[in-house]
């Protein structure tokens, strides 16, 4: 009857400029960090410096494996800057549903021929596609720097690590979407999304400190995908499936929550 995925297409049309900005940001980070590996990560001086630091600090930063290309890439990008950038994007984009409601746009949109569930799901799809793009782009840049920066990474594991990063970010976005769909408040969407991401990070950092706290890994999405090094050991398939599953379930739940209540005026 009507055209395919109108809300999704509008969202992409309106956000491609911003997506371009995020893409450039990720490229900048990768081109800044990775080419330095031969002179920093693989140098003897760096190894001596790391050895002189407190072990807890080194573990928290994920610098214990920094002498290898895989460890270096994880410590600088997947565990740090890439995680940070994609998490921020996930929180911002995940709160777009609540933002549309707060601005009054959703009221006008939903008085037209668009279903509530459709609206939420197409918004989630737009977030997912943009996340996948950023992940794929990061993977491609890493792959292209693999040789020049002497990282010696297995290309298949780059794919796994990117899937892990995107899955983790989408779980954060899903949490933000659900909070926004349930409350209609942007502050809640942003807070819950950021809260989940930060909490996951802190829990895994604590879990590294002592074997008594290792159980915290079980509740940290960050641990699900990154505890087993995706670049040096290959991504943990179970953790990856769990992260993606929770992310998709949150997105689906946001559609149900959005259907169930009055819109705010």
């Amino acid at each position: 009857m009507t055209s395919i995925l109108p809300v999704f297409r509008r969202s992409i049309r309106e956000s491609w400029r911003s997506l371009l900005g995020w893409t450039i940001g990720i490229a900048a980070v990768l081109f800044l960090y990775l080419p330095l590996y031969p002179s920093i990560g693989a140098s003897d001086q760096m190894t001596q410096l790391i050895d002189s630091l407190p072990k807890q600090l080194v573990d928290t930063l994920g610098y214990d494996q920094i002498a290898s290309g895989a460890g270096y890439t994880e410590a600088t990008f997947f565990g740090l800057m890439g995680f940070l950038l994609l998490t921020i994007a996930a929180v911002l984009w995940g709160s777009s549903l609540a933002a549309a409601e707060e601005s009054g746009r959703a009221e006008l949109d939903l008085a037209h021929g668009i279903g509530r569930g459709q609206y939420a799901l197409e918004t989630a799809l737009s977030v997912l596609i943009r996340m996948l793009w950023l992940g794929a782009f990061a993977g491609l840049v890493i792959w292209s720097l693999n040789g020049p920066a002497e990282l010696a990474l297995d290309p298949a594991r780059i794919v796994g690590a990117s899937a892990a990063l995107v899955g983790l970010a989408f779980l954060t976005a899903g949490a933000a979407l659900l909070a926004g769909a349930a409350t209609g408040r942007r502050a809640w969407a942003t807070g819950v999304g950021a809260g989940i991401a930060v909490l996951g990070y802190i829990l895994q950092a604590l879990a590294k400190q002592s074997s008594d706290l290792e159980w915290l890994n079980a509740v940290s999405p960050y641990s699900w995908v990154f505890r087993q090094s995706p670049l040096s050991e290959g991504v943990d398939a179970g953790g990856l499936a769990l992260t993606w599953g929770v992310g998709l379930a949150l997105a689906a739940a946001s559609a149900l929550a959005f259907r169930a209540r009055d819109l705010r005026g």
């Binding site: 009507t2 109108p6 009054g104 746009r105 006008l108 021929g113």
Partner: protein, 320 residues
């Protein structure tokens, strides 16, 4: 033939706040129905339930024969809606915005003709659709809001304060659009707190106060336009005698007469009152005095509603 809108015992609560209570409303096909009342009377709440933006706490609502809750996108494609508070943002142009709504609400294959109608309406109302909507003034945004509701020629138009922010010339064009819609067989439900707007277009009216309908019927029978407030300054010195004389005038209320504060051009007696019904007896009574100043004004709608229906709205039942 069923009515276009049938609302029965609609009740809407927000926490402990009651926005609408026991509201019954019927809008016949092909008519213009006006919903008037002061701000906060429940107009917007009522209209929003018709497009499933909010759901009733109890009571039943049927629009074009369907429950809005279950009619879904298919039902809403048959409705044009202007929200009470229109917010348009983003860098998209008016054309883009309307193309999107034409795509989701137009009939299959009819997008081109919907957009042609949109361009015609934009010319009539005088709004530039090439500009990003966020850069438009409030009045021009409102015009875009009207266009998105009218352009796909829906069977039912639900317009919440549609003329807010429009200048008088455009308001007149809008009223023409409403009449044209009715002549084309479309049904229109519009809310307003401006009485004249309703008087010029509506076949039937309901007056809302405090979440209830306090009066309904055709516009003339509601007596809303029949109240006047008068203020005069007349010659004389005996304020009590003047008051007594005017209190005998039929339909007069709240007579207040006092000596004017004085001064070379402000002596005499100041008198103020409200008059319901014919103004002629008051004019005749006034003619016996030297009239220095005379002001006759229509009170605003809020005041009329509250004065005329304030009592009945606080008692059970609510109909006058």
């Amino acid at each position: 033939m069923t009515d276009t809108i049938e609302i029965h015992a609609l009740h809407k609560r927000y926490g402990r706040n009651v926005a609408v209570q026991q509201l019954d409303l019927r809008v016949r096909p092909g008519t213009v129905f006006g919903l008037i009342g002061p701000n906060g009377a429940g107009k917007t709440t009522t209209l929003r339930t018709l497009v499933d933006i909010i759901r009733p706490s109890s009571g039943s609502v049927r629009v074009l024969g369907d429950d809005p809750r279950h009619g879904g996108p298919g039902l809403r494609r048959r409705i044009g809606y202007v929200p009470g508070e229109l917010h348009l943002e983003g860098r998209a142009s008016g054309h883009r915005l309307l193309a999107f709504y034409a795509e989701v609400s137009g009939r299959a294959g009819g997008t081109a003709s919907v957009l042609r109608t949109a361009r015609e309406l934009a010319d009539r109302l005088g709004v530039d659709l090439d500009r990003p909507v966020r850069t438009l003034s409030k009045g021009n945004k409102q015009k875009v809001g009207l266009i998105q509701a009218f352009m796909h020629r829906p069977e039912l138009l639900i317009l919440d304060e549609p003329t807010s922010g429009l200048d008088p010339l455009v308001q007149r064009e809008f009223l023409t659009m409403v009449r044209e819609a009715r002549d084309a067989g479309q049904t229109v439900l519009l809310s307003s707190h401006v009485l004249s707007e309703i008087q010029q277009t509506a076949d039937e009216v309901a007056v809302l106060a405090n979440g209830r309908i306090v009066a309904d019927g055709d516009v003339a029978s509601l007596r809303l336009g029949s109240m006047r407030r008068v203020r005069v300054r007349i010659g004389g010195t005996d304020a009590a005698a003047v008051r007594a004389a005017f209190e005998r005038v039929p339909g007069i209320e709240g007579v207040d007469a006092a000596p004017a504060p004085g001064g070379a051009d402000a002596d005499g007696i100041r008198l103020s009152a409200t008059i319901e019904g014919a103004i002629d007896p008051f004019v005749k009574a006034l003619a016996q005095y030297d009239v220095h100043e005379l002001t006759v004004e229509e009170p605003d709608l809020e005041e009329s509603v509250l004065r005329l229906y304030g009592d009945s709205s606080s008692s059970a039942g609510g109909r006058s």
